[in-house]
């Protein structure tokens, strides 16, 4: 049943846009696919666009943290983009602050952020 969320390659970076309410299985699949893609393309950065997500619970929160951690080990930065206000407020109340995860308001800004600190 696990569908694959498409991963776009933009130069040295990868872009993932999460459009649907994620089943747990899909989230785990995404984690696998992304880490494999980072390795395969020697990607320097990953943009995760969650502007369409209306709910981010601790499972998805952990997924994001894990992707960020694993990405870092593989030499890529992760930027989470477009978190909705209601989601941000809820995550804070839940006690999740996603430390160490970079964020940006939009994909454009996220991309600029990834490029800005490159040698």
């Amino acid at each position: 049943m696990a569908e694959h969320i498409p991963i776009l390659r933009i130069g040295e970076h990868l872009l993932v846009s999460i459009q649907v309410d994620l089943h747990d299985q899909m989230a785990l699949q995404l984690q696998d696919d992304l880490t494999a893609a980072i390795q395969r393309h020697s990607a320097h950065g990953v943009l995760i666009d969650i502007s369409a997500l209306e709910v981010v619970d601790s499972f998805i929160g952990r997924m994001i943290s894990d992707i960020s951690g694993m990405g870092r080990i593989l030499g890529a930065r992760t930027v989470v983009v477009g978190m909705r206000p209601a989601v941000a407020i809820t995550l804070v109340e839940l006690g999740l602050s996603l430390p160490g995860v970079e964020t940006a308001l939009t994909i454009e800004r996220g991309m600029a952020q990834l490029r800005a600190e490159e040698p």
Binding site: V80, V81, G82, M83, R84, P85, A86, V87, A88, I89, L91, V92, E93, S97, L98, T103, A104, L105, T106, R109, G110
Partner: protein
């Protein structure tokens, strides 16, 4: 326990019910109820439905207005009460008038039914009074609750409109966190700031606590929540108005502002924000 069989019989006899409705509408017109806000047609429909629902409820044999057979009637009364509460011209008196004007026509039918039987008439008039009164009370109560809900909602809307998020520059918003940071208001204000960030695509939010007299645990926690939420969304945050005592308090409380820059005044914060946003400030 009320004996309502006579009333039930009256309401479920077409001719008698029609007579009641006519007289009821006449009474309502005389009382000047609605003063043109409700059309004659609508009043006719409402009295009609009332009689229909009451008749049905009584047909079931129930005599308790709080019981299930009376639910459709209660809901109908709640509806018309709510709609009257929302219209400008209506006071709770007029809503009550709708119900209580029903008594007279009902009594007349009971009088016709009992003719010389004074005892029977007294019993039924008493039962009718209690029935109509309890329905009337229910209506008035709903009216008042609706009015209170409207006032509450207006207050909330005012709170949101008066929220002090200020656009200092293109891409830079400021939020003077003034005076009362009571929990409900604080929530609304935080939501408002976050929404404005998205709406304006602003990169930086300056939280100005110059007007906050003391920073206690609650204030510090609220500050921290706002800072964290902003960070999660991808916006930057600068806190201005931080006096030395406040800096001390924050450290003592063990609050980790996660590397957010603080400035002692708004002007400095703005200068820093402009720099971060890529503008050069020339004198």
């Amino acid at each position: 326990m009320m004996e309502l069989s006579a009333i039930s019989e009256i309401l479920n006899t077409a001719a008698k019910r029609s007579a009641i409705q006519q007289e009821w509408l006449r009474q309502l017109a005389q009382a000047g109820s609605g003063a043109g806000t409700i059309s004659k047609d609508d009043l006719a429909k409402q009295t009609d439905e009332f009689l229909e629902l009451l008749g049905a409820a009584l047909r079931s044999g129930s005599t308790d207005v709080d019981a299930p057979p009376f639910k459709p009637l209660r809901e109908f009364l709640e509806d018309i009460s709510r709609s009257r509460a929302q219209l400008q011209g209506f006071s709770s008196t007029e809503t009550a008038i709708f119900i209580f004007s029903f008594k007279q026509p009902l009594f007349e039918q009971l009088r016709a039914l009992h003719r010389a039987d004074a005892d029977g008439l007294t019993k039924d008039v008493w039962a009718a009074t209690r029935l109509v009164d309890s329905l009337g009370m229910h209506t008035v109560k709903t009216f008042q609750l609706t009015r209170e809900a409207i006032i509450r909602r207006q207050q909330e809307e005012m709170l949101e409109l008066s929220t002090p998020v200020v656009k200092l520059w293109e891409g830079i918003l400021a939020l003077p966190m003034v005076g009362t940071l009571d929990s409900a208001r604080a929530q609304v204000v935080m939501e408002s700031l976050l929404n404005r960030i998205v709406e304006t695509g602003s990169q930086i939010a300056i939280l100005d606590i110059t007007g906050v007299p003391t920073v206690d645990t609650l204030v510090a926690q609220h500050l921290l929540k706002t800072v964290t939420a902003l960070r999660l969304m991808g916006a930057e945050c600068i806190i201005s108005g931080v006096r030395p005592q406040i800096a001390q308090t924050i450290v003592h409380l063990g609050v980790d502002l996660q590397g957010v820059t603080t400035k002692s005044n708004l002007a400095d914060a703005l200068a820093l924000a402009l720099k971060r946003a890529g503008y050069t400030v020339s004198h």
